[in-house]
Symmetry: C2
Amino acid sequence: MSALPTNYQIYLDAFERILHDYCAGLNAPEGLAEGMRYSLLAGGKRLRPVLFFAALDAFGVDWKKERELALALECIHTYSLIHDDLPAMDNDDLRRGKPSNHKKFGEGNAILAGDALLSEAFTLAIFAAKDEPHRRAGEILARAAGAEGMVAGQYADLAAESDELAGEKELAFIYENKTAQLIRAPLMMAAAIAGKDETPMKGFGTALGILFQMTDDILDVKGESTNMGKTLGKDAEENKLTCVRVYGLEGAERRADQLAENAKRLLSRMDAKTQFFEELVEYVRERDR
Amino acid sequence: MSALPTNYQIYLDAFERILHDYCAGLNAPEGLAEGMRYSLLAGGKRLRPVLFFAALDAFGVDWKKERELALALECIHTYSLIHDDLPAMDNDDLRRGKPSNHKKFGEGNAILAGDALLSEAFTLAIFAAKDEPHRRAGEILARAAGAEGMVAGQYADLAAESDELAGEKELAFIYENKTAQLIRAPLMMAAAIAGKDETPMKGFGTALGILFQMTDDILDVKGESTNMGKTLGKDAEENKLTCVRVYGLEGAERRADQLAENAKRLLSRMDAKTQFFEELVEYVRERDR
């Protein structure tokens, strides 16, 4: 596995401080706040807020000031994990090496913790929307999260489990919406705040997001549970539609390599400093080696 | 039962047209959109958007132009019903005389339809936030819906079911947050858009919201299933904390009468045309006679 991209740790440390401050000030009944904090503070690489900070930095914007939208991104990601782990969805008992939210607090409370986190994202984004670039950034986030974005991907993912005919086309829809939407969103949001064209970041972010999900699915087959902090081998067991099911392990690896090359080519056309993102593509691609 | 307030039908018909247009244009995978439409179009008195239009009208604002926030209100109300009916929450098979969303589409899809509707509210509100009064209105809505609002009320409601010591204090918290938050929100949002003080509408809306929930709980004991379109007598069966459990039926009726008087007194201090709201208080109070 290659090293974290240059500056990743700086963005990550800054976000962790912002997140801890935010969690300390959460305004909610104590039991509900406890469930929200449990999942928010369960660790993880904070990929989405880090991407947001890195892209703002690449565009020359003072990224340290953009706290609300960074938090909103992590709140949406965290709510989606809580709801995704529920028995009626992926039914996962383990998340980041700990009991998943509903195993710890019960199903009803987990549904509510997810609802609360999505509502928090909404509150944070609309609080931040005090000029048109920030309003637009919040709109990108809202659309990426919802019925034409991440939730659409979750829906298709669930539907594919009981659809024996689901194949390449359904897989592309799931990868783009379930995962890539919320990975390209921070990049496009940064472009909006910087007053730049969102399109190049949309293209690159889509490739990066799909690459991320492909390597995740490859790791589910190849990896070890202790390193991943979640139950492995579940995809096949649950008849999940993944790149390994559609293309086989070798075919999936080959496609991931092509996608990584494609992502780097898209970067070369960008009007921003791209070193961080080049290193990130390498880092993501190398995860499953 | 007294008649609907003057102009209620006008606001309601306008909203139904807006809602049908919106549903026809929903951008989501067909199965997901079907689940969202099923619950959005299941009927109901559309109290929250009607309150929003009526309050805008009372403040002299052109209410017909305020489509997005009216839709956002109904999307949030509808998502809350879908999640509230889930087996892990209130476990209700019937809603507005039809199978509840999860009985019709399955639990996983119902969770996602709710998530999608909350995301839609977020998208609509941030789309509308193109000036400070509308941004502020969206912020009122977001806070009313979330961890310091409706979700906090749902959480307390669920917790009270297994808390034999829960009483008057917990009941007041549940009534204010679970129900009154999303009933006073449209009134406060209208004040924000009109550039008026939000405080008087907050006071009146809180009283109206609590009155609404009290009469609902009284009806659960007194009403007939065919008129209500939902399962009755469930509150007692599930050990729900209601005004009837805390004060008895007679005590609850007496308190509802006092609250209706109080609500009307609050109206008399308002800098707006208040006839609609006076009639509405009567209408809500008379529901259980």
